[in-house]
């Protein structure tokens, strides 16, 4: 299991979702990726995308105007 960070700050939806999707393609099941975003829409869209692709959102935090969404990569990649 490895930890990764994805900087999706200043990107507007759906770019944070696209970046998350592309990042996850290169990861293995069980890996963790922390997506840092500034578009509040990403807090809905990234979890929705994760639900349909079998990845788990294990935490969502807000830190000084930034949203950090932590995703654990599921078994089905893509």
């Amino acid at each position: 299991m490895t930890r990764h960070t994805l900087d999706a700050r200043r990107l507007l939806c759906p770019m944070p979702v696209i970046r998350t999707q592309n990042k996850i393609k290169s990861l293995a099941p069980g890996d963790i990726v922390e997506v840092v975003c500034t578009d509040p829409g990403a807090t809905n869209d990234i979890p929705a995308w994760c639900r349909m692709h079998g990845h788990a959102v294990i935490a969502t935090e807000t830190r000084s105007g930034e949203f950090i969404i932590t995703v654990e990569v599921g078994k089905i990649a893509g």
């Binding site: 507007l12 759906p14 770019m15 696209i18 829409g41 349909m52």
Partner: protein, 362 residues
């Protein structure tokens, strides 16, 4: 979520599902694409959605930017639609490839800068490519004959099928009965009898089908699925291209066209002036790439200056910016001008409303 209840699928279809056929469906987030995908699911087809981000999509952006819209639920319509359908959605960034579609459309533009026919051909082509790379069998769209004047006509349907390369692996379930049978129909992967013959701009059949499937909440884009159908947006993009002398753009350019008031007081520069707090914050993110103006003595907007400006131009830009501040009726407004990290403070007289010529507004 992906498991299907097959109990109401006839036996012959269930047998057929031993080799479940797979369709990739273009999902815009609107009702038609939802219904097309749903129709395929009903026939036991494995469906996954695909959605293309061109940079011009009317999608959360303005909502995310404008503070007054922050209370509204923010969601990507395509993702939301896919989740309602219980299918996976793949969102593909086509920003760079789309430039050719927009700047050199073989079939020209619609009412504004929308190259709908080329755009559809391009998207179906990308979906077809995805289909081959991922071992899927056919492509599905929610196109309806006669629905849109440019891209969804009986005579343009074969053009899209041909130019995309998808040919008869492109199925439009909502109008299929009005079109020649496609391979999925001929081979019995789908049952043509259970497809539809929707035609024209009347939305009643779609609404009835939606109701039958219990679909009550869906996005209803007014003009089309993207900003290119919007007259004001098209004007700003035309202005950008004219000034550059070529039809070039980057994602930042086209994002900025969605935000603020755009005024061009001189041919060599324009001002992008935030209309409210959310827009000011968004523009703030670009302060290092542009000369940036901000009223100091009074509350007011952030303005970006795009182009080149000498001292008298900066004075003029500051007076315009002051006009949109709370000091609009004051004798003098102090405006900070930040250019390449150097701040100059100017005391300027705000323009009166009638001093700003109408032609400056893009």
């Amino acid at each position: 979520m992906l498991a299907r209840d097959t109990s109401n699928i006839p036996e012959h279809r269930q047998r057929h599902m031993a080799t479940t056929r797979k369709a990739v469906a273009l999902i815009s987030g609107g009702l038609d694409s939802m219904l097309a995908a749903r129709t395929m699911l009903e026939q036991g087809i494995h469906v996954e959605g695909i959605n293309f981000f061109t940079g011009f999509c009317v999608e959360g952006h303005t909502h995310a930017i404008r503070a007054k819209d922050r209370a509204r639920p923010k969601r990507n319509n395509a993702l939301w639609a896919a989740e309602q359908l219980g299918i996976r959605l793949h969102i593909i960034d086509v920003i760079d490839e789309y430039k050719d579609v927009l700047t050199k459309p073989k079939h020209g533009y619609g009412a504004n800068l929308n190259p709908c026919l080329d755009c559809k051909g391009f998207m179906v082509g990308k979906a077809y490519q995805w289909m081959t790379e991922n071992g899927f069998d056919f492509v599905v769209t929610g196109e309806v004959i006669g629905q849109r004047p440019m891209s969804q006509r009986k005579d343009t349907m074969p053009v899209i099928a041909r130019e995309s390369g998808a040919g008869d692996l492109l199925l439009r379930p909502l109008s299929a009965k009005l079109l020649p049978p496609t391979r999925p129909e001929r081979e019995g992967w789908v049952d043509r009898d259970k497809l539809f013959d929707f035609n024209g701009r009347n939305r009643k059949p779609q609404m009835a089908l939606a109701a039958a499937h219990g679909i009550t909440d869906y996005a209803q884009p007014a003009g089309g699925c993207c900003f290119l159908t919007d007259a004001t947006y098209a004007r700003k993009l035309t202005d950008l291209w004219q000034v550059r002398g070529s039809k070039e753009y980057e994602l930042d350019d086209i994002m900025l066209l969605k935000v603020g008031r755009h005024l061009r007081p001189r041919p060599h520069f324009k001002l992008i002036i935030g209309r409210e707090e959310g827009e000011n914050n968004f523009l703030e993110g670009y302060r290092r790439q542009f000369t940036c103006l901000r009223p100091i003595s009074h509350h007011g907007p952030l303005a970006l200056l795009d182009g080149t400006a000498d001292e008298s131009d900066l004075q003029l830009a500051a007076r315009v910016t002051a006009r949109f501040s709370q000091g609009r009726n004051a004798a003098l407004v102090q405006v900070d001008v930040v250019h390449q990290g150097v701040t100059t403070r100017l005391d300027v007289q705000p323009f009166a409303e009638d001093e700003i010529p109408h032609e400056w507004y893009i």
